[in-house]
Amino acid sequence: MPQKHPDLKKILFIEDDPDQVFLYQTQFQNYPELDLQPVYSGQEGLQKAQEEKPDLILLDLLLTDIYGLEVLKELKQNPATQDIPVIVITNMFKTSISKECIKQGAEDYWLKTEMMPRQIVESVKKRLN
């Protein structure tokens, strides 16, 4: 792990595909002020969000255990986590789903094939500043 940055921002990444986790981790390592913490299931994500109180959550929708939208709802219902901004990052190209996510309190809805890893990191950074 890189050294602790004075303005270190914690980003919780809820994603079940190890290949993708590795891909984004590789991209994020160039930004020492951004600490990407991956979890591989929804359940783990909910737990970690409450414990770690991250500055931002990146949420995949199709997870092995719980549907991402349900994770989002629970995050927004829990007073401990409801103020943490959540960005949905997925390959579900469905307007109805993206709208539903925004409605449920997601900050944004990003498509993995549309945004290259660098763009994603830049956008995260911009949003946190």
Partner: protein, 745 residues
């Protein structure tokens, strides 16, 4: 008054009534001829009365000459009538008769050629005896023509059948009796002084013939009893009232023109009119009950009925109309309609409507088919009275018994007339009528009218039957349309559901395709954009491996989708030439190697229990079987977030059973059926198990069942894991065994 006078006045009176009737009701030459004949007899009768009641030879002479006008015309008119009646056409003979008759008439008015002397006979009256010279040939002519005519009638009687025979019989009897009686009165002319007491028989002929007219429709003329009755009744009433009032005036009121007389008239006149109407109505009612109703009356009604028949399409209405109108018009309390019911080529007659008859009895008429056969053959109304004649004339014993049976049946149920309803040569029904209230016979006109009506009715009934059939058909059609609409709606719902599933599938498939693409793209962009020095060798390697892995995954997803479409056709089956021997143990091991890493990553243990014995190869196709095993493993992994997956092989006779058992979340039984459908996933699966394409099990089922005897089963309940078993046939050497097949595994 002596007997000669009495017989004369009786004969004269009865003949006059008959003649009057003929002129009033008669319509054709036959009726006219008969009327004239009766007048000539009447002249003889009344003339005889005058002769019998005078003691003056001058007066007697005059009346003898007048009487002879009638006597001369009798043989002429009688012969003419018989010719007309028997429809013998000999114009020359008829003309000759009249010429001869004319000659005798002329002779009748000569001084002494015909009537010459008056002789006081029996101490009662003068007789034209002895006669003039021409009287002798006249006598011969008279008896000659009378006997000749009777002979002609006798001949006809011997040859004709049916009602005509009866008509001739009665006519012959009536005339023979009368001529025999009257003929004797010729004797005293020739000084054979036998009292002409048998002249009394002459008045019988109008009675006998009248009876035949009534009973056997002789000359087809109707007895206008009803009209005569009403007319005479009213006349008697008016006559009686007139004299009653006249008497009252005479006794109590004095002069008709006195004030009280005029005043009384004001009361009497309206009273009379009032009572007259009542009497008229009463007489009509009486006549309707006991006498014929007028022919024209029901001619009109039946015509109207015939017209009305065309407006009815409802069978019940129609039958009702026929029954009620015939009943009302003819005055028959009993009437019924039987209709043919064709049932498996067997024609059965059922009662459509009946009044007055007992239903059971109505059926008895047609029980033995004799009546229907008869009606079908003759296509004419059958009158009960004619059955006597048919019985007598029947040629075979069987026929005779049939008619006798029928007669008994008709008598038993008091049926008088059976009218066939014929349409297109087929007997479609029978109208059965009872006796008229008046007990009168059915006249020929009535029968013709009824026959015409029956023809119309038959057409109308057939139409109504067709109409009702069409209606039934319509109703049937409506029901069918309704059913099909329902089916369509259901299909539509199914389709909507299918579309929903399809769009769900597309979402998932798109996701399945995009996910590896996004990783490949992402990894490549890092490798491109990053300063490669910043990446460790390990990272680079991992990124490349990611690209490779996801490319393989992408390839698998594409293959999955393509295979799904390939096997999703009616024709898909593994033909014998597509089957090859495959060592299932080796294949499972090979596929397991492919996926083991994925299992490891998900921390799901996977174990293959190799069979201890050596299994023969299965008959399958490598390309498809690989996918089956991969799909089943993939499926097991998808349903098992954690735990283990076990694989077994066992031999079951000619099959090998591959079982893949997981300890995952299981599949509720309600989902089992649709599990193998295209684009279908378990209820929870859409949201919960994101990595299946929804096609895997569909492919497995299609491929497995394409094998001869191939089967797939699932045992699973919610929360208790799932066990999928696939049964595949053991490979057999084809007959004859071709040497090219070598197991390669």
């Amino acid at each position: 008054m002596n007997l000669f006078a009495l017989s004369g006045i009786l004969a004269g009176f009865s003949s006059t009534v008959m003649a009057a009737f003929m002129f009033v009701r008669g319509r054709n030459r036959l009726h006219f001829l008969w009327g004239v004949f009766c007048i000539s007899v009447a002249i003889w009768g009344f003339g005889g009365y005058q002769i019998a009641t005078t003691a003056d030879p001058e007066v007697a002479d005059t009346w003898w000459r007048i009487t002879h006008i009638g006597i001369i015309l009798i043989p002429v008119l009688f012969t003419h009538f018989v010719y007309e009646f028997l429809q013998i056409k000999k114009l020359f003979l008829i003309v000759a008769l009249y010429v001869i008759g004319l000659l005798f008439l002329v002779a009748n008015f000569t001084d002494d050629l015909f009537i010459a002397n008056m002789r006081w006979v029996f101490d009662q009256f003068y007789y034209d005896s002895p006669p003039g010279i021409i009287y002798i040939p006249f006598s011969v002519f008279f008896f000659g023509m009378v006997i000749y005519s009777h002979y002609k009638l006798w001949l006809a009687y011997k040859t004709v059948q049916g009602i005509k025979k009866m008509q001739i019989k009665y006519f012959l009897i009536g005339m023979a009796v009368s001529f025999a009686g009257g003929g004797l009165s010729f004797l005293p002319v020739y000084k054979i002084d036998i009292y002409p007491f048998l002249n009394i028989l002459v008045f019988l002929y109008p009675i006998i013939i009248g009876y035949a007219m009534f009973k056997y429709r002789l000359m087809d003329i109707r007895v206008a009893a009803r009209g005569i009755f009403i007319y005479a009744g009213l006349a008697v009433f008016a006559y009686a009232v007139f004299y009653l009032i006249a008497w009252i005036y005479q006794e109590f009121l004095g002069d008709v023109f006195s004030p009280q007389g005029l005043l009384a008239g004001l009361i009497i006149a309206p009273l009379f009119v009032l009572v007259l109407f009542g009497v008229n109505r009463g007489l009509r009612g009486l006549a309707d009950r006991h006498l014929f109703s007028s022919l024209s009356n029901y001619q009109n009604t039946l015509r109207q009925l015939t017209r009305e028949l065309n407006y009815h399409v409802d069978l019940d209405d129609l039958v009702n109309l026929i029954v009620s109108t015939t009943q009302r018009t003819l005055g028959t309390p009993r009437a019924g309609v039987l209709l043919a019911n064709i049932d498996n080529d067997h024609i059965k007659f059922d009662i459509a409507q009946v009044t007055g008859f007992d239903e059971q009895n109505g059926i008895s008429l047609v029980r033995d088919n004799f009546l229907t056969q008869h009606l079908r053959n003759t296509q004419k109304p059958l009158v009960r009275d004619e059955l006597h004649l048919l019985i007598r004339d029947s040629r075979t014993r069987q026929e005779k018994e049939g008619f006798e049976n029928l007669l008994n049946q008709m008598i038993k149920i008091e049926a008088f007339l059976c009218l066939p309803l014929i349409n297109g040569g087929r007997l479609i029904g029978i109208i059965v009528l009872g006796e008229k209230t008046s007990s009168d016979a059915y006249t020929k006109e009535e029968l013709e009218l009824l026959d015409t009506m029956a023809q119309q009715a038959a057409t109308a009934i057939e139409n109504a039957q067709l109409y009702s059939q069409i209606q039934e058909l319509n109703q049937d059609l409506e029901q069918k349309v309704e059913k099909q609409t329902k089916e369509l709606q259901e299909k539509n719902r199914d389709l909507e559901k299918l579309l929903k599933i399809r769009s769900e599938f597309l979402d998932i498939a798109a996701h399945q395709l995009r996910t590896p693409v996004s990783v490949i793209l992402g990894n490549i962009s890092i490798l491109q954009e990053e300063d490669l020095q910043d990446l460790s060798e390990e990272q680079k390697k991992k990124l490349f491996r990611g690209i490779y892995k996801k490319s393989r995954k992408l390839e698998a997803v594409i293959r999955n989708i393509l295979t799904a479409f390939e096997v999703d056709s009616e024709e898909f089956s593994l033909e014998e030439d597509m089957l090859e021997p495959i060592d299932l143990v080796r294949l499972v091991e090979k596929e397991l190697e492919e996926v083991r890493k994925t299992f490891d990553l998900q921390k799901v243990a996977v174990h293959f229990y190799r069979p201890s014995e050596l299994f023969p190869p299965v008959a399958s196709n490598r390309y498809y079987l690989e996918q089956v095993i991969l799909c089943l493993l993939d499926n097991a992994l998808n349903f098992t977030p954690e735990g283990k997956v076990e694989i077994f092989l066992e031999r079951k006779e000619e099959f090998i059973k591959l079982t893949i058992k997981d300890s995952g979340i299981g599949i509720p039984e309600s989902d089992h059926d649709r599990l193998f459908h295209k684009f279908s996933r378990g209820e929870k699966a859409v949201n919960t198990y994101p990595h299946g394409s929804g096609l895997g099990l569909f492919i497995v089922k299609k491929v497995v069942e394409a094998h001869p005897g191939g089967q797939i089963t699932i045992e699973s309940t919610s929360q208790n894991g799932s066990t999928f078993s696939v049964t595949l046939p053991i490979y057999k050497q084809p007959d004859p065994p071709p040497d090219r097949i070598q197991p390669e595994e």
